[in-house]
Structure formats: C-alpha cells, structure tokens
Amino acid sequence: MDNDTLQLIAVLAIVVAAAGYLLRRAWRKQKGEAPACDRCEGCRSKCG
C-alpha cells in the first residue's frame, strides 16, 4: 500500500472512532447513565 492509502485508512479509523465516541456519549446521556455535563464535581456522579 502506498503512503496515501495508509494515511486514508488511518484517518478513516480515527474519524469512525470519534463518531462512535460521540454517539455512545449521546446514547448514555439519553439513558441517564452518564453525567449531564462533564465539567463539574456537582453532577459528575449522576445527574443526567
């Protein structure tokens, strides 16, 4: 495989992983399994 193909595969893997992360995060919030926000101690335990 040439350099361009290798880079395309790597980029696709990273983009799919990022999209998967965002979808899983949204799903967990929707189900109330994740904090509503991720920036404060007040709701880090469970407030979603």
Partner: protein, 655 residues
Amino acid sequence: MSAAPGRPKQARAPSGGSDVRAATSGGAQVNISGLAQRRLALLGNPNCGKTALFNRLTGSRQKVGNYAGVTVELKRGLMKTAASRSVTVIDLPGTYSLSAGSQDEAVACGVVLGHSLSERAPDLTAVVVDATRLRRGLRLVAALKRLQVPLVVLLNMMDRVRAQGRSVDPAQLARTLGVPVVEATGIRPEGTEALRQLLDDDTLWHKTHPARQTPLPTDSQTRADDAQAQAWLAAAGLDQPMKEHAWSRRLDAWLLQPLVGTVVLLALLFLVFQAVFAWAEGPMGLIENATAATGQWIAATLPGGLLRSLLVDGIVAGVGGVLVFLPQILILFFFILVLEESGYLPRAALLLDRLMHAIGLSGRAFIPLLSSFACAIPGIMAARTISDRRTRWTTVFIAPLMTCSARLPVYALLIGAFIPARKVAGLSLQGLVLFGLYALGILSAVAVAWVAKQWGRARGQAGPLMMELPDYHWPRAKDVAIGLWQRALIFLRNVGGIILALTVILWALSSFPVAPPDHAGSAIAYSLAGRIGHALAVLFEPVGFNWQIAVALIPGLAAREVVVSALGTVYALSQTGDEVGTALAPLIAADWSLATGLSLLIWFVFAPQCLATLAVVRKESGGWVLPISMAAFLFGLAYTAAFITYRLAAALGWA
C-alpha cells in the same frame, strides 16, 4: 452478608457505588445488591459535614463546601466496616426537620421516612450532628426517635468544641439519648474508625423499621422535638451555649455591613479578573510554544497527506488552541475555591439578599447562581433548594446568563486578539473587559429576573432568606490543591474527550469532499463544512459573523469551548503549510474586524450555546415548554445584542 430482616426482598441495582451480582444455576447474572448490602443513610442539618464524612467512608470525591445547600440530591457509595463488611452509604441533602420545605429537603425526608418511590428506606440512619450546634442536630434525633427510626448519632466538629476548652462525652450523650453515639469526622483519615467498628454490631441492623409511610410531623410535634432536644442537653449538662467565634464576629461586623461589604465583594471580584490575565501569561506562553513545537515536529516527521493534515490542522491546531486556556481556568477556580473554603460565600448571599428581593428572587438563589459560574447545570439543579416555585423557575431561567467556565476560553481568545494588552489607570485593560463581560451577564440576569417579577407580581413574593453562617476558616492548602487538581482533570478530560472527538469530525467535514484540482479558491470552501458555513453566513451576516464563525458555532452547541478548537481547525485548513503552528489569536485578529470580534463576545454573553443545559432544564421542569422558551429567548437576546454591538462598532469605524 445477610439481608436485613423485615425488608421486602426486592432486587434492585444501586446506580452508584458497587454492583453486586451472583450467578444462578442457569448461568444468568442476577443483581443481588439490594438484598445483600446493608444500607446506611447520612442525615443531618445543612453544612454539618455529611458529604466530607461520605467521601471519607466511601473514598468518593463528591463536592463539599463551607456553606449550606451543596448537596441537592442523594449520592450512594460503598464502604467497608472494621470487619470488612460492605455497607451502602447514602448521602442525603441537609435538612433541619422532617417537614420538608424545598425539593432537596423532601428527598432527604422521603428516603428516611420510607416515602420515596425510587429509594428503599435505609436499614439504619446516621444522624450527623455538628457538636458546636447540638440543639439543632438533636431536634432531628428527637423526631426520628419519636418515629422509632433505627439510628445512630455521629458527632462531628469535635475539634472546634475542644478548641473552646469544652468537651462533649459521646458515652454520656448516648446514655441520655438512648442511642449509640460516636465521634466521627471526615477531615481526618482516622476520623471514621469508631463508626466502622460500631457498624459491625449486628443488633443495630436487626431493629425493624416500624413506621412505614410515616406521616409528616405537625407543628406541635416539631415544637415537642425541640423541647426534647433541650431537655437532653440539660440532662447531659450540655445546655450552655458555645462561645461565638470571635474572629468571625469581628469580620462580619465589617463584611456584612451593606456599604463596606458590597465594596469588598466588588473589589474581590475585580481582583479575580485582573489575576486571570496578569498571572496566566507565563504558563500560557509555555503551552502555546509546546503546541506549536508539536505541530512543527509532526509536520516535519510525517509525509504530506490526510493523516498529517488531521494531526496538524485538526488535532494540534484545534485541541491545542483550547488547552492553552487551562492556566486561566485554574486561576479563576483558585479564587472560587478559596472563597468557598473560607466561609465567605454565604456572607455574599446574605449581602445580596436585599438586591435579590428587589428583583423578585431571594438570597437562596445566590448559591445556585454562583454554582452557574462553574457550569449552569449544577446551578440549575441547586435551584431545588428554593421552595417558592416562581423564584425557582426564575433562577433556572437566568442561570445560563451567569458566565460559565466554558465561556472563559472563548472570551480569553477574543480579548487576547482584539483588546490591546495595555494598562488603564494601572489596571489591565484585558482584565477590565473580562470583568465587564461577567458584569454584563449578571446585569442582564438581574434585568430578566426583574421583568419576571413584574410579570408574576400577583403570584406572591419570595420568602425571607434563612441561612446559617459558618465560621470563617483559613482555607486548607491541601483542599484547594485537590480542588484545582480535580478542575484540571475535568478540563483535560473534556479536551481529550468531547473536544477532541468534535475536532476530528469537524476536520473531516472541512476536508471532504476533496476539491478538484481545477477548483478556484480554498479547498475548505468546497468541503461540506464550508458549504454549510456559507449557507449559514447569510443568517449571521447582519451581526458581522463570517462563514468560519458560523461553522464553529455548530459544534459549539455541544460545549462552548469547542468553538475555539473549531476555529483553530477551520483557520488551520485555510492556511498553507508554511503557517503551521501559528497561534489562532493573530489569525483571527488579521481576518476579522474589531466590530466582528466585539459582536461575537456579546453573542457569547447571552447565547444558550449548550445543549446539555437545555436538556437538564427539560428534566428539571418535566416538559419542553421551559427549555424551548429559554432557548428562543436567549438566542433572540444574543442576536439582538450582537446586532446592536456590530452596528454601533461599525458606526464608529471599527468594521
């Protein structure tokens, strides 16, 4: 472990703490945690140290503060007794009596009295009593004893009793009360040993809870409980009032004085915003240099192609652009933590109570609104402590106008790019502008609350503020350091999570479809993000935003600071390879007019650029009316304010 007798055998999973599972003969997993673990509830007056104790017992790191109302919902965790038995510990919001006035108190009373539909009554209730304020704590003990709720008493703050040369003998108090009493404190590692040993006493757990669906106490019962508490104190020889904390009284004589107190409060806030810019310069420069060096190293190491573009133009330019604001966030939180720890914050609430009443709120709204400076979400949740319905929803409505920490990177970027770093009357102009933006958020919240008050005048007034003022403490360096460490972790987790993921997606949208070789203009303009940005630019053109800003505002709905990383990515993709590592601020300073910069600053003061906040408002209000009306109102306000700012600036020749 044995199940507590008298309990309905329901299998339920605690949503916090551990998750105990057992395998059935068929191989399926059955959750047995509800059966196997004994459940201990921590109940007590507000600010008596329950959460510190909970953290010590369970190893959790829930937020604690030197003021009432920090805990507004129950938290669960798992602890081990001295004999290594597992106990589920439930931390409850503070309450003075069993007749709940606000939603958070209702949660505490509901759980202990067995009224809660979602939480089984605990097997044992530990009443945490502030030893310097015994009567208030024993009033709760009297109420629970009257209802025959199985309980133990935990004496906290004994160090302060000893500091006054006095003593409270737990054994003597136990004989008087007829329930076990132990000394327990959350601030020392050995402070919970006596409790851990006590919880191994099986006889404590084998008492049944006789009163199911106990009715709420009447006024006469509450008075009788108070008389009982006083009688116990007299019997134990503890009815002499504690000496007042002389230092606190002397400071309060000045700090609660309306004029002097207000001047001190304003001066403190002023100092904070000056420090945010003045102190952060050095560490920000280091992070900027490290980011630029990383980008240059990757560009020099990897051959040209998509992966290099993703790493350099997407991740380094985008994520690095946000990371640089970590020092400013930590400086802001350093001051907030010191004020919190010292006990000054409830004084500020008291000081502002008169102003709060003038705009239809009460001093009780101060803590929720103050929490909103970190993030609107805990602020909105903390509004549960407000018993008056109209006051609560007004507080929720204006909470997003408080400047949350996610706005700070956006403000810092724009101020750094458009406001000269010079002194005015010996003060940093950039610090003054930042102070002005925070003040604008507060003033607009005051105005909205005042309008809401006029609207709902016929529906009654907010009740008076009754708030216990804790004694002043010197902030403990360790606690402040832990608070800052947690804050840094939260920020870095966001940078490495949501911001990184959104930056990658935005890079992909800004890079595909790839422009054909004969395409005139920049490649990003041909991409999907470029097309979306150009379509949205029509909507934002009247307020002076270009298509790059329009693109950045979309991922910014997930978290405001993503706007910074999105701008970093979009501008990096618009550059040639020679400009790799160029900081974002000079790029936007060259590309935008001052009018556009100011307009975007004002947009961020008002815009509800946070979907998580709207989701929590929906959850708290139980419907879509409030979040939708809030979003529509705040977007309208942001657009109007940005439009006026842009047009005024253009009229001054800054466009």
